[in-house]
Symmetry: C3
Subunit: 253 residues, 3 copies
């Protein structure tokens, strides 16, 4: 999954409208980013950043095995890396790459400007919360609905659908499906299209499109956190999650 | 038309968000539901219910000839039957079946979770109010817009379009079109997919998706009823309806 | 571009909900409208109206070379011509025809009921504001979003996309693409479909669909005008516009 994105991540204020960097999400890209002139790798244990200052683009790789879980440590490192890029005027775009894209990973993808998925049935994208017996929060629902429309979002969220590549493209949750080895080059082409637009115009337009959704999250953030904590702490929900995890183990075992 | 639905019907509070039963709407199915073990048929003159308690699903058949008009008697019987099912813990889903699906019939379909239409040009679905010289109420407009999007809804509502099967599928007002004899089996397969999801998670997700539309209806219900009664009582509108009915008779005659 | 439309234009109150005339937008039609019985041509320097009172339809042609720019003079003449038609009970529909459809021209098309584009790569439609370093105002964003959905609108607006015919049809910004010589006859067929519906029902339905967008514009109109004037007067924006115009000249030169 490769993302063209200009977002701060959920740990802070999801979908910070009008953030500066455009971004594109690519499918799984395990191989190195190619480096290039002026590349000064940086990053942390879980987030590796390969900047190409000449092109004004950085490629960010998630390294949080086995499934790039969005742990507090991971999200903190991601936010720090994004802030570094945002504060460095030589970067105008960022490409995020990861593996699987369920739930929170799907959210990171949805907040980006463009989504590219590797054409491999092993990779899928979606919000599978209901399959775990939990509920996607309203701001995740809003973000999905903005991307694929109300009806498709209702069905996907109720059934907790994870879309394999062809279906993901058809429903519109990703913009392109390409062979795995072309994911990164496709993302670089895509991001060039976004970077051809004057930053201020693109940024204000993006803020206008996402303002309603972002404001709603910011306004209701505390209530939503309390609500989620109280829900997730229930014995019945914990039991439901445990059953799901055990089923996962059995499927793999 | 077969519906996978978990709704209370318009006579009460249309789209009661978060109702318990999932439902699927099937195309015309005149043949018997197959009964099965544990089936205890019940129902009334106009609504026949064939429960399959083993599967946790009931099939509801509308019998209000010639066109399953949504008369007060019919709606009352429908609501009573749905409440019976909702209060019986052995049922988790209901399949509604009918014939034609214009106007109110289309609404019943739209409130369901999944819609299956028989591939027969005799059957169509849509909101043809303007063809009769009347206006779909705002909550019907909202529900259609949630399903097929703003632009398609605007065109369909202004022109009073009734979609035959292929067009219905293309515009997204139904989810599947299948040969007439496969409608019920397809509905049973579809509803199994919804019933695989933990009830509480699916139900809360559905309520979240439909809350805005349902709340708007509930809040403005009395004003809407008064508005409609005053509109429909006008001489010019009564005349327009009469002309439509006469044209219908001529076409059949 | 041929439009089936019932709108007053942006110079006054964009999207005056519930205006009387339905309209269809056709692709470029340079040849004469055919006249017909009862045709009494009228119009002005920049807007030519060829009424066909028998059919109840008028064809409006834009003549503001080289690109039908929406100058104050042009918009004034357009509004006067539309008002004449609206006040004449013998007309129930209007077909607008023009050439290129970027920015404001696209808006005129979007406010119509149906859009037909000539199948010629020279013609395209879209909102290319960001390419000029400026921002589409919120009411133009709302109108585009109503037509093609949130995700497609976000991408189109950020990138300032101008869609050639095939892409325009695919994204839904036009309803039909036909050979250039069939544009006007197609518009006449389309408008007949709209005129078959009782005026009052169609008009109230249209008002219901567009009310939220139109009200938002009307309420925030003065603030929006001030906002735009202050934005467009900035040195940096003027410089950005100048660069764009120079690039255009170079491309043509």
């Amino acid at each position: 999954m490769a993302l063209v994105a200009s977002v701060r991540v959920p740990a802070r204020v999801l979908l910070r409208a009008g953030a500066r960097l455009p971004g594109a999400a690519l499918g799984r890209t395990e191989r190195a980013a190619g480096g290039g002139d002026g590349a000064r790798r940086f990053g942390s244990q879980r987030v590796l950043v390969e900047p190409d200052a000449g092109a004004g683009v950085a490629v960010m790789k998630f390294k949080n095995p086995p499934v790039n879980s969005l742990s507090l440590e991971f999200l903190t490192e991601l936010v720090i890396s994004l802030e570094k890029l945002e504060n460095d005027k030589s970067f105008r775009g960022v490409i995020l790459t990861s593996g699987a894209c369920p739930a929170g990973g799907c959210l990171v993808a949805l907040t980006c400007d463009y989504r590219i998925l590797a054409d491999n049935p092993r990779y899928c994208i979606g919000l599978n919360e209901t399959q775990l017996g939990i509920i996607a929060p309203f701001w995740l629902k809003d973000t999905l609905e903005n991307t694929i429309g109300h009806r498709a979002a209702e069905r996907a969220l109720q059934l907790g659908l994870l879309f394999p590549p062809a279906e993901a493209l058809q429903v519109g949750i990703v913009d392109q499906v390409v062979p795995e080895e072309q994911v990164q080059s496709t993302a670089l082409s895509a991001i060039a299209q976004w970077m051809a637009i004057p930053d201020h115009a693109r940024q204000l337009t993006k803020a206008m499109m996402r303002k309603a959704t972002a404001s709603r999250l910011v306004t209701q953030r505390d209530a939503d956190v309390q609500n989620f904590v109280s829900f997730i702490s229930k014995d019945s929900i914990q039991k439901s999650l445990q059953m799901y995890l055990e089923r996962l183990k059995e499927e793999k075992g």
